[in-house]
């Protein structure tokens, strides 16, 4: 547990007096070691899940609502791509090679890694107070004024304020909480709902969603939402200073002109 507590205090050893006079930026601890490790494991897992998931979708790029659906029934929507199955009417004159074998194996193995890592992160986040201290928006921030000021700041494409270097603004906090506590649980739930064995043990997993085709469609849409989040996340990291933010998530340290208070 010591590593998690250390997230909130500077990690530096006592600075020799000869260096203290240099007016360089203060180096402070930004992310705990557990946050950094789980962040990168989840990042790698997410890439593997997206690639393998896309391969699986190619074998049937049609989505339905309710319990059942197949090429003879009306889809809710289709993705206009070629398919790896002869059976699917795509309008393309060719069939892609079947990649479902390794894709499924990679998808499920990675799901284990991602879910176990995510569980560790969530449990540690509650125990260490990471969610309460770093992600739960402050009372004063949750107001029209608080939102308006952050949104206006973004719309004017202003440089991030110095405070953003060592803390999250209210929009960030809500986005992260939404991803952690809504999107990830939903993608895990709908994924499990597609397992005929899991459904046999816990039928509510699929019946609460209105059927297995609904579960599959929600699984796809939530994955798209997660991918959109990732794109925005990377753009924001880029705007804040790619090098310093990447270093912060790798080494845990960030340079800031302002002392953390």
């Amino acid at each position: 547990m010591s590593t998690m507590e250390s997230a909130h205090v500077p990690l530096e050893p006592p600075v020799p007096s000869s260096i203290t006079k240099t007016p360089a930026a203060t180096v402070t601890s930004r992310h705990s070691v557990l946050v950094r490790i789980t962040h990168w494991i989840i990042t790698l897992s997410f890439f593997a899940l997206v690639v393998s998931g896309a391969e699986i979708v190619i074998s049937h790029p049609r989505f339905y609502w309710g319990e059942t659906g197949n090429v003879l029934t009306t889809p809710l929507f289709k993705i206009p791509i070629p398919s790896s199955r002869n059976l699917v009417p795509t309008g393309y004159g060719y069939v892609l090679p079947d990649q479902n074998g390794w894709s499924r194996a990679l998808h499920f193995q990675t799901a284990w890694v991602a879910v176990l890592t995510g569980l560790l992160y969530v449990v540690a986040g509650f125990v260490s107070g990471h969610f309460r201290k770093d992600l739960l928006p402050g009372k004063s921030d949750v107001s029209w004024r608080g939102f308006a000021s952050v949104i206006a700041h973004h719309l004017r494409l202003e440089k991030p304020s110095d405070g953003d270097t060592w803390s999250y603004n209210v929009l960030q906090r809500i986005a992260y909480l939404f991803v952690i506590f809504i999107l990830f649980p939903l993608v895990i739930w709908t994924g499990l709902a597609m397992s005929p064995a899991f459904d046999s043990a816990v039928p509510a997993t699929v019946t609460l969603l209105g059927g297995r085709q609904s579960a599959r469609t929600i699984h796809f849409l939530v994955s798209v939402a997660l991918l959109l989040f990732l794109i925005v996340h990377v753009i924001m990291v880029w705007r804040e200073g790619f090098r310093s933010r990447m270093l912060a998530m790798i080494t845990g340290r960030t340079t800031s002109t302002k002392e953390r208070t």
């Binding site: 699986i56 049937h60 003879l72 059976l87 074998g101 390794w102 194996a105 499920f108 064995a197 459904d199």
Partner: protein, 252 residues
């Protein structure tokens, strides 16, 4: 080395030892309770092992969801199969009267069953969803005889661990563990939605394993072997599926 890092090193070493011991104990227990899939090797072995062990434990007493008659799909889908062999065409021309399902291996009384003989045993039906690994599905009523009834008739040995089942068509065979073999919804089906099982859906005989994906429900079955050794079949991975990259256990 500071005190802190030494303490961390010792703690890390202890944790690693404890972890390795726990893994060893877990592997031993998993083997003892039949929680190790035949295709647990390779880079995807850990995921396959975790999935099979946890779902096998979770589904110990579970039944596949059953539906009402009104939910039977108006437009089910018979998936594509390779062009029929001459042997199959001959049986089809003869309306399958000479079709035999042979059951042998670790049994007291090896036997061959005609379709009519199977129909003479207590008939059961289930309205379940057929789920393809690609994502599509349909609901149908399946009529047949539970595999457990046949295993009792032939006197399967208690030390048997797997039942292998083969299509008359080449390179199409699977196996299931005994938990699935004696499961009340595991059928040898000869009927669908009240009629004879159409050829497109696997007629005259199809194995039905509704708690797993469709590819475990092999069509046109004519042979079953009760065994305790997966190594005797193909590459020893439990079925032809792992030989083409698909998991032996298809509960997910």
């Amino acid at each position: 080395m500071t005190d802190l890092s030494r303490r961390k090193l010792i703690a890390g070493g202890l944790a690693a030892t404890a972890g390795a011991t726990a893994l060893g104990v877990a592997a031993h227990l998993a083997h003892k309770y039949g929680l190790v899939a035949p295709d647990h090797g390779g880079i995807y072995g850990p995921g396959e092992a975790l999935t099979y062990a946890s779902l096998r434990l979770l589904t110990r007493h579970s039944l596949a969801r059953e539906f009402s008659r009104s939910q039977i799909s108006e437009r089910p889908l018979a998936n594509e199969v390779a062009p029929f062999s001459e042997e199959f065409k001959r049986h089809q021309a003869g309306k399958f009267v000479d079709w035999r399902l042979t059951v042998d291996g670790m049994v007291d009384h090896p036997a061959s069953f005609s379709v009519d003989q199977l129909k003479s045993y207590p008939s059961r039906s289930q309205i379940t969803e057929t789920v393809c690994e690609e994502g599509w599905s349909y609901i149908a009523e399946w009529n047949g005889v539970p595999l457990s009834h046949i295993l009792n008739l032939v006197g399967a040995h208690p030390q048997a661990k797997y039942v292998f089942y083969f299509s008359i068509e080449p390179d199409w065979w699977e196996s299931m563990d005994m938990a699935d073999a004696v499961h009340p919804q595991t059928f040898i089906t000869y009927g669908m939605n009240g009629d004879d099982l159409p050829v497109g859906y696997g007629g005259p005989l199809r194995l039905k394993l509704p708690r797993q994906l469709g590819y475990k429900s092999v069509k046109f079955i004519n042979r079953m072997i009760v065994t305790d050794d997966v190594k005797k079949f193909g590459k020893g991975l439990g079925s032809v599926s792992p030989e083409t990259g698909y998991a032996w256990y298809a509960g997910i």
